[in-house]
């Protein structure tokens, strides 16, 4: 081992290993992009999620032109369009070459609040009314699918993080307590976990969702869904953490911590749980997708986030008929986002597992040299 290798800390070693996995780095950037777009959805989209124009129901994606009909270059623009019905009573949108709407950047649009604080109406791009720009087409009520997908990311992406945060707090604590005390405490807590895990997840989800009062507003429904998801998923983690704590509590530093006069809870939280961190980080990454999928599933069947609020799941619920899929395939775009997000979390989680485990790290390096 040469000098430069020696001076690297565990974190640096892990980082180096991570960087070698190009695909994982790509996925990490993609995730970053998705979260970035969700946070700044207001600026990045031309319309708010509830801005509708019924005349443009199921309008296809607007074509952005750079050439005028005379064949000259111009700034990007779109033609206005209007719906006609063909002989099958199917809507078809025909571009009206007389109406031109140039694409404008940083224009005033629907109002919003930056990070919930300052009122603002700046949008990255849009076209002048009455023209409407549909980057990825429109839904049944003529709302811009692009805007709704980006806004939908706010709910779909945050539900995974917040859900994981809550259920891991519960899981770590319950697992830690069960593992640390052992005996009867352990028995009781683990039987409760097993009872929870016994139910098929999705049915438990549906049943719990049914308990939520219908009078709840969207924010309350959102919180309810997060809580329900966390409630379902903490048990599996608690079992694993409990197993790790059973062996960790025998370590001498636990006895030493007791001899220092720390309380049991302090010992669990400050001395035992940090040792499960490398497992937890990987496990968190790998379990976020299940929250996203569960929310999508719930919203898809109409029990999750309610219209007009957008989540990837309830956007997809529009595509539940053959007519929509056949004639408006862009309705499936939210599905691509769900797929991408889930894939990214899995790839990054796998890569993290490889690079956080010092044993695996050594093996890989030997095999590649």
């Amino acid at each position: 081992m040469n000098k430069s290798q020696k001076s690297l800390s565990q974190f640096q070693l892990a980082l180096r290993q991570m960087k070698q996995n190009r695909f994982a780095v790509f996925c990490l950037w993609l995730l970053g992009l998705l979260y970035f777009s969700a946070i700044f959805a207001d600026i990045l989209t031309p319309y708010s999620y509830e801005n509708e124009e019924r005349d443009f129901a199921y309008a296809p994606a607007s074509k952005i032109h750079c050439l005028t009909e005379q064949g000259q270059f111009s700034r990007p623009f779109i033609y206005g369009s209007a719906a006609h019905f063909d002989q099958n009573h199917q809507r078809i949108y025909v571009e009206n070459l007389q109406e031109k709407y140039p694409l404008r950047f940083f224009v005033k649009g629907d109002e919003y609040k930056i990070l919930g604080l300052f009122s603002c109406s700046l949008r990255l791009f849009s076209v002048d009314a009455p023209g409407r720009i549909y980057l990825w087409g429109a839904d049944s009520r003529g709302r811009d699918l692009y805007s709704r997908v980006i806004y939908g990311g706010r709910i779909s992406l945050s539900i995974g993080l917040i859900g994981v945060l809550i259920s891991y707090s519960i899981g770590l604590l319950v697992g830690g307590i069960a593992g640390f005390y052992g005996g009867r405490t352990d028995e009781v807590l683990m039987r409760i976990c097993e009872m929870l895990m016994m139910f098929p997840g999705f049915y438990l989800l549906l049943a719990l969702r049914a308990v939520v009062p219908p009078s709840f507003n969207s924010v309350q429904v959102y919180i309810a869904i997060v809580v329900i998801l966390s409630f379902i998923y903490w048990a599996g983690l608690a079992r694993v953490i409990r197993g790790m704590c059973l062996s960790l509590r025998e370590r001498e530093f636990v006895l030493a911590a007791k001899a220092m006069g720390l309380s049991d809870l302090q010992i669990i939280v400050k001395h035992i749980l940090p040792h499960t961190l490398s497992y937890s980080i990987v496990s968190i990454m790998l379990s976020i997708p299940s929250y996203i999928l569960a929310e999508s599933g719930l919203s898809l069947v109409g029990l999750g986030i309610q219209d007009p609020y957008a989540s990837w799941g309830n956007l997809l619920s529009e595509s539940m008929g053959i007519v929509q899929i056949r004639f408006c395939p862009w309705i499936l775009i939210p599905g691509i986002f769900i797929f991408l997000t889930v894939m990214c979390f899995n790839v990054v989680g796998d890569a993290l597992r490889d690079c956080l485990d010092p044993h695996l790290r050594g093996e890989k390096r030997e095999s590649c040299c």
Partner: protein, 256 residues
């Protein structure tokens, strides 16, 4: 008298039945005294040490006896009072600080933890106190050491850091469980001299648990010799060393 043990009995309960580990141990520690608790492996000396802090984990159970520390009966204390005592008035130094320190935190963090627990100092005061403690145990470059992880230090430094941590709660009694067994002879002597210095400067009493009668001979004021869970001989160090009455003590003497 700082600490007084009366007829301490510890038994282990298991499915195979119960067995006595420590039977009827009585001794006392005076203020500013180093007491050497000597015995072979399995003689119950470490168990006795842990029993004083009420740190025995089932199946080990104290079945009989009384421990009086500063005129209070330790077995009559509530959990919270007992916790305040641990790391506070009675602190423990372990045999292998590599295992007794939590590997994922720095030395400074772990000393700070005791200060949070047992003092009401502010953050900056704690930081200063931490460096003072490291300095007190004659650690060179306390700032660097406080930022190091346990595995980055040598055995001697780790033991000093462990002592600094034990001193953080201003203890009256230090229980040192084989504090020098994993160190080489020269460092052993330095650590023991440090114990003696701390005893004088901080008016500490120390229970030195060891299997090495040589250490006890040089550094302790009185000695308790244990064998198979019972005391075979106790008294002033000079008297015991010069005139060992029990055959086991003589055997230990010959091993020097």
């Amino acid at each position: 008298m700082l600490l007084n043990l009366e007829n301490l009995c510890v038994r282990v309960f298991s499915e195979q039945g119960e067995k006595s580990i420590v039977h009827g141990v009585s001794f006392s520690v005076d203020e500013q005294q180093i007491l050497g608790l000597v015995g072979g492996s399995g003689s119950g000396k470490s168990t006795t040490g842990l029993a004083i802090l009420r740190l025995l984990i089932p199946p080990l159970v104290v079945t009989e006896g009384k421990i009086i520390f500063q005129n209070q009966d330790l077995f009559a204390l509530g959990q919270d009072d007992m916790r305040r005592l641990r790391g506070g008035a009675i602190a423990m130094v372990f045999q292998e600080p590599l295992y007794a320190f939590n590997p994922v935190f720095t030395i400074g963090d772990q000393i700070d933890e005791v200060l949070v627990c047992h003092t009401s100092l502010s953050r900056s005061q704690r930081k200063k106190r931490c460096l003072e403690l490291l300095d007190l145990t004659e650690i060179p470059d306390p700032v660097r050491i406080s930022r190091s992880y346990p595995h980055q230090l040598s055995g001697g430094l780790r033991q000093r850091a462990m002592m600094a941590q034990a001193l953080a709660g201003n203890p009256r009694l230090l229980i040192a469980d084989e504090p020098t067994s994993n160190l080489d002879v020269t460092i052993q002597a330095k650590i023991m001299n440090l114990f003696v210095k701390l005893k004088k400067e901080l008016a500490l009493s120390i229970i030195l648990i060891t299997h090495d009668l040589g250490l006890v001979q040089h550094f302790s004021d009185s000695v308790v010799v244990m064998k198979e869970g019972a005391i075979v001989e106790q008294g002033k160090t000079n008297e015991v060393i010069q005139n060992p009455r029990h055959p086991y003590t003589r055997e230990l003497m010959r091993a020097l």
